[in-house]
Symmetry: C2
Subunit: 320 residues, 2 copies
């Protein structure tokens, strides 16, 4: 198994044309960066996988002395294996890891750090603080606040809204609390907040329930683009698409395209970019090719996507 996953990584490396750099650079300057991420099991991770490959390709061309080993894992055990392989057989100089789960990845990532490698942790913290050199993540508070501010500024007094929550997590709490805080003092009423679990089908069911319960709904905070798709289907099925608009989140390609086209049902979106993996890989590369300090915490802001700026958030080649 170990051997096989390694071969896959090497094959991918070759397919991306990453190994060619070795010929240009002196051995002393050659640096190998491992990138370990979850597989493309759903929309957001599909986008994240695409952006990781896109960035590795760009960096391989810009810096021939950098070599990358990319591995994707469908579960935590496979990811632990991948990282141990990277250390044992590729002797990586740096590791970029988006942990499948925090707990089982903490010890293996700590072992990489203890071996003197540069470690970048992305999106989800490890169970122990202070292991990584660089932490790169989205801003969940801003994600909720930016959405809430749009509701506050674009609904009339007395407007009624419903909210779909994600999987019950700290991350979801932070987002929802910031959304509610942004509405405080306004005359906008939140009718209901149920968990759609960042899942299209669950969101469809929750929204069906909302539509049967509430005769007046002016806007929906779906809080995630997969949930937004489910919500839009339920609204269409109830034939109430002229009554309310829907704000998702994360910048899914189809949603961004509809914003660009001025769809009145989808006026804006809030970023939580799958391309955060690109920021993490680029900054890890800078640690090796520049004198710029890259140790610390980079929290990527959540931005409002509007018809005016949507094009810069639209990646036609990405699956997400």
């Amino acid at each position: 198994m170990k051997r096989r996953s390694l071969m896959k990584a090497a094959a991918l490396s070759a397919a991306l044309g990453l190994a060619s750099g070795a010929a240009f650079a002196q051995d002393a300057e050659r640096k190998i960066i491992g990138v370990s991420i979850p597989s493309a099991t759903h929309g957001f991770m599909g986008g994240l996988n695409w952006h990781a490959q896109d960035t590795i390709k760009r960096l391989g061309e810009a810096y021939p002395n950098l070599e990358f080993v990319l591995s994707t894992a469908g579960d935590a055990a496979k990811q632990v294996n991948d990282i141990e392989d990277m250390m044992a057989t590729r002797n990586i100089d740096g590791l970029v890891v988006l942990p499948f789960e925090s707990e089982p990845l903490t010890a293996p990532v700590k072992a990489v750090k203890d071996a003197g490698k540069f470690v970048t942790v992305v999106d989800r913290g490890l169970s122990q603080e202070g292991i990584e050199d660089l932490y790169v993540a989205g801003d969940n508070t801003a994600f909720g606040r930016v959405a809430g501010e749009y509701f506050r500024d674009n609904l009339e007094a007395g407007a009624k809204v419903v909210v779909l929550r994600g999987i019950p997590t700290t991350l979801d709490n932070e987002r929802v609390e910031a959304f509610q805080a942004a509405l405080e003092g306004s005359d906008i009423e939140i009718l209901d907040m149920q968990h759609g679990n960042w899942n299209r089908d669950d969101a469809f069911t929750v929204m069906q329930d909302y539509l049967s319960k509430y005769p007046q709904i002016d806007a929906v905070w779906a809080a995630d683009d997969d949930m937004a798709i489910g919500v839009l289907e339920a609204i269409s099925a109830a034939n109430r698409q002229d009554e309310m608009w829907v704000i998702g989140g994360a910048g899914m390609k189809e949603i961004v395209r509809r914003i660009m086209e001025g769809d009145p049902q989808l006026p804006v979106n809030v970023t939580y970019p799958p391309a955060l993996i690109s920021s993490a890989i680029e900054m890890t590369a800078l640690n090796f090719v520049s004198n710029a300090p890259m140790t610390g915490r980079f929290i990527i802001g959540s931005q409002l996507i509007t018809p005016e700026n949507a094009e810069q958030f639209h990646y036609p080649d990405s699956p997400f």
Copy 2:
């Protein structure tokens, strides 16, 4: 005056070989990044100026389509002028600014942002939140905590220490509070904390006073390398160099060299890197050459410099 400062920027640009890239890249892809920083009036700013030039040189070579306009200012009014020049005559696409002072720079930097440019603010916030796309700064809490932890772990119970504070500012408070918090619960006594104002001569005077007042001093937190130099002079003058060690901060070249050589008076140092300007310029460049999101807050960690790792923090060509 405007014309003159512009000519100086252009001359510097030429001297660094930055303009040459324009010939390689298509006009459509060419991006101009303005960098506005305080002059090299003291050690830390000298280092910062050196790192800014070093990074602009590296990026000009790595990305021929990027062009840089660097200007340095001895006061806030000159810096406002510089930024207005960059907009009026160079039509910059992005701005990296380390504000001389927050208040007078806020409106001019906001004007750059309102014109649709990418704005990176470094080290000191503006008077109004949310203007910049990217904020890059050091971590003052970690700066105090890392030093405090070294004192806690390397002094015996009953040890007595003195502290030199910087110019009275929020920044200095954050550092000192974190230092005190790290010592809480230990048996280490802080005898005194006076302001040496990040100044060599003031620190000499404060330390002279400490030395005459306190018969037992086991260690000094000078909290800044300029202050550490003044403190070491006072200790030498009192001939008490065998009694105590001194921890400065920021990673001054001479101090780092002495750590590399194993000087018992200077066992370690804590980083607050003048190269943070390099992180800011590199990340702003990534906004133009990559798909990686670069909007957000990057807080650079403070690291402990030890004899083992000192070499990686030693820049022999930098003036600081």
